[in-house]
Symmetry: C2
Subunit: 147 residues, 2 copies
DNA sequence: GTTTTAAATAATAATCATTCTCATTTACAT
DNA sequence: ATGTAAATGAGAATGATTATTATTTAAAAC
């Protein structure tokens, strides 16, 4: 994964560059996102911030995660059911492998989709801006689970 | 695209095989799904059924689209914002190209992901059951649009 | 350091696609 | 034709996300 200090500094830099205030809540969120490894959802992020900010609002987490996303500092993985998940380590499109039992999401080390993206653009006439590739299955932990 | 009569017959066969009643609503829905080409959402399907079934409930559309999905007769494309879309022609995982302006969704003719799926299974230890690949961009119609 | 003020936050209401509930209706086996 | 479990229609409930607004605060100006 990316160096978390680098990621943190990058997020703070973006706040400054765009003229946003460096609130305690934002800096703490940047820290949580930069060290996050398991693609947390807002609830998980919210709970991690509870220690340092017992009065923090869930809306503040939503607002600022989306703010960091608008800077390209976090990747949002939207899901139609269940909560959206966030990747603060690799804030660019990349494949994910999702366990349908325990909801674990990991980043596999596989080749990119550059070739297929170009092929799709050629065939369809679309200007392709981004993509999303998810593999759904059952992780080895869940496979060996009894019951 | 697939032959719509074949698709329709396949859907009706699945209803019979699984012992579900052949209600007028289900048969009409099977017809709409089998001829659908633009990945309609439930609202669109609902409106198309209004002509023949003015009293039909939206819940019935949801219920039975999910029933056909459980038979593997329709592919659901879930979206975290906006409505889910359905493909009754190719009810198996395949790539999609989505226009972020007009929400058009098309099926591009590209090679499969079989190789990458195997690679991911090897690397992660997951048992991969399905996948989802979306390319997001702007279609040529929207690109040439003024304003 | 104090003051000023636009931006940010906390709390909570609103949204909206989807699912659930239940009274009524219907497919279909007998 | 009748009986019965399944299906439908109508509308309430759900739940993640977004919007609203009064209060607080970061940081610029003095
Ligand atoms: Mn990731
Ligand atoms: Mn399709
Ligand atoms: Zn698992
Ligand atoms: Zn378009």
């Amino acid at each position: 994964m990316a160096d978390s200090n680098e990621r943190y500094e990058s997020m703070v830099r973006k706040l400054k560059e765009h003229g946003y205030k460096l609130t305690h809540q934002r800096l703490a969120l940047a820290r949580v996102l930069s060290v996050s490894e398991g693609h947390p959802d807002v609830e998980t992020i919210f709970l991690r911030l509870q220690d340092s900010f017992p009065t923090m609002s869930l809306a503040t987490v939503y607002r600022n995660v989306m703010l960091f996303k608008s800077f390209g500092e976090v990747l949002e993985l939207g899901f139609p059911n269940g909560r959206n998940r966030f990747d603060g380590n690799k804030p660019f499109p990349h494949p994910h492998v999702i366990c349908i039992r325990c909801q674990k999401i990991i980043d596999p080390d596989v080749g990119s989709l550059k070739d297929m993206t170009e092929e799709v653009a050629d065939i369809t006439g679309f200007v392709i801006l981004t993509h999303r590739l998810d593999f759904f299955g059952i992780c080895s932990d869940c496979m060996t689970e009894k019951v």
